[in-house]
Amino acid sequence: MKKSDQHVVPNTSGGWAVRRSGAERASKILDTQQEAVRYARTIAKKEHGELYVHGKDGTIRQRSSFGNDPHPPKDKR
């Protein structure tokens, strides 16, 4: 887990939080999941990190890699 990894998590007081791995607080709270994912994706791309979208219980709903993907898609050639 790198500090450049970004997590999108539903915020209990409303909206969606974007949080960096290891951080104690959210870097941003946005109204919708879509906005939060867009914001987190921009940072993850810029910093070559991973993007994790969590459900309310912490489970992973979506994962995108913008760095060294540990599970890259298999070459179909």
Partner: protein
């Protein structure tokens, strides 16, 4: 693990409760305590009740979630295991050894005062309400453990953030080992505890958890 570090966890172990069980276990482990559950022993020949009483006797702390005891649909039977095991824990404290008289337990419920209708004898016990919210489980369990034995514990927001980091790392690690998303979501509880303990050992400074 020593008596003072053991936390007996009394709750359902089915899929319907896993969203609350994961943060509960993680908070206990993060605070350098050992969750003890009835599923941890692989010896199927041992009667379950003997295993449970043994675990209760060995654990200074007990966390009992009564939020799932009532039947939710017509024809479903209400569940007595949780209040039964809570009764054993309370009894162990009352009739046990000098050490066991120091036992403490937390009762978790979904709504405030709901338990009083069914178990009025519990008035005056440590009761917390999680409203079925995973983050509330972290907040309430941490708050109770801070008052009982972990006065310098980090804040709930930090533990909740660490839980998200764990869930992401664990997802990647298990995917790498050939687990599907369904396998990960349904990971057996003893295996989940092992993963959490390993992550916490590698990522959390011990001093920050006491």
């Amino acid at each position: 693990m020593a008596f003072a570090d053991n936390v007996f966890i009394n709750c359902p172990f089915d899929a319907g409760y896993s969203s609350l069980l994961r943060p509960l276990l993680f908070t206990v482990i993060y605070l350098n305590l050992k969750p003890r559950i009835a599923l941890e022993s692989a010896d199927s020949g041992e009667p379950r009740i003997r295993k449970i009483t043994e675990l209760i006797g060995k654990s200074k702390y007990g966390i009992h979630d009564l939020s799932r005891i009532e039947a939710t649909k017509k024809g479903e039977i209400f569940r007595l295991n949780m209040p039964f095991e809570l009764g054993i824990d309370v009894g162990c404290r009352s009739f046990g050894t000098r050490k066991q008289k120091t036992k403490r337990c937390l009762i978790l419920e979904m709504e405030r005062y709901r338990y009083q209708a069914a178990l009025s004898d519990l008035s005056g016990s440590d009761i917390a309400v999680h409203k079925n919210e995973p983050e509330e489980v972290v907040i309430e369990v941490r708050r109770w453990l801070v008052n009982r034995c972990r006065s310098k514990a980090p804040g709930a927001a930090k533990i909740w953030g660490a839980f998200m980091d764990f869930m992401a790392t664990n997802y990647d690690d298990l995917t790498k080992r050939g687990f599907s998303k369904k396998d990960i979501d349904n990971l057996a509880v003893p295996e989940l505890i092992e993963c959490m303990e390993e992550w916490v050992r590698k990522n959390v400074v011990l001093d920050a958890r006491r």
